[in-house]
Symmetry: C2
Subunit: 159 residues, 2 copies
DNA sequence: GGACTGACTTGCGTTTGCTGAAGTCAGCAA
DNA sequence: TTGCTGACTTCAGCAAACGCAAGTCAGTCC
């Protein structure tokens, strides 16, 4: 099976997973809400204070994200308070962690403040910083030059 | 040093690398152009045919991406043709590969066509599929539950 | 020199994303 | 019952992103 890049016009991007993904999570506010959700934020007013975009945009986006299955709206109740709802990550949402981590790594390297990165994610067991890296199912580290592109089952040929 | 999530209001997102990153590469067309650039596309008309967005948007975005240092505009000449330019990835651009890969992985899992993923990235040496995974500098695989958040040198406290 | 082609640019119009200020609404507290 | 508060919603209005159609411009080929 040859590398598709040798015959680039034989496949189309119509069924591209990258495009599908950004159509769901590509909006700026969605990424920023996911950032904070992955750091543990769950309540509406906390999102409003932390995400840094306006309240109407947060409300609209949270609704969209619940509809998209990234968050789940769960009722909770504190003593002496009425029932409220919090937004908990679903597995579908939680699995965006590599995306956000890769984005943060890149921002730390190429768009950081002179002072350095504002927050650092570290491994709980050993305290070392965490990064998103490429690895193959055989367990090898993969360099960007060592990747072949092959057609998957959903490939659409164009003849 | 405690986990910052225990004291979430003590830091601000003003200097967030995730936000900085998406302000540079967050537009839909930028991501799609990077997708194709990372698959080897270099020429204007190839981007127009493959990316799936209009010509004016491609032209404007390529210009922005060159200005942002993601791509470099390099003159080339084919025999009997006039001098043209191609858009080559810079290191800054190439290092977005984990971001695009993580996005593609997520899309393959959560937003794929029934037929399955259209393209598969495989390790050149062993042929196994490539994924973006989290790992710490100590060499351990990191699960999403095993991450601590600590303040980095660029942290902005808010008192 | 005239046609051709690849690489853009210009000029609309439309949609989407976001902001800011103000309004609504449910239920617990007094 | 009235007030309060947290969680939204509604209503302009603006700017950026994108699509489509047409125009430009520099070489090269004939």
């Amino acid at each position: 099976m040859g590398d598709l890049r040798d015959d680039r016009d034989s496949w189309s991007n119509a069924n591209c997973s990258v495009a599908r993904a950004i159509d769901i999570v590509g909006a700026r506010s969605t990424v920023l809400i996911m950032r904070d959700a992955l750091l543990g934020t769950r309540r509406f007013d906390d999102f409003v204070r932390r995400v840094g975009i306006g309240e109407p945009a947060i409300a609209a986006r949270l609704k969209e994200m619940v509809a998209a299955g990234l968050l789940e709206r769960i009722p909770y109740r504190e003593p002496g308070q009425r029932t409220r709802h919090e937004y908990q990550l679903t597995p579908k949402g939680r699995e965006l962690l590599p995306v956000i981590t890769a984005l943060r790594n890149w921002g730390d390297t190429w768009a950081a403040d002179e002072a350095g990165p504002p927050i650092v994610a570290t491994h709980h067991d050993c305290g070392q910083p965490v990064r998103a890296v490429l690895r193959c199912a055989g367990g090898h580290d993969v360099d960007s030059g060592d990747i072949d592109i092959t057609a998957g089952p959903g490939a659409i040929r164009r003849d």
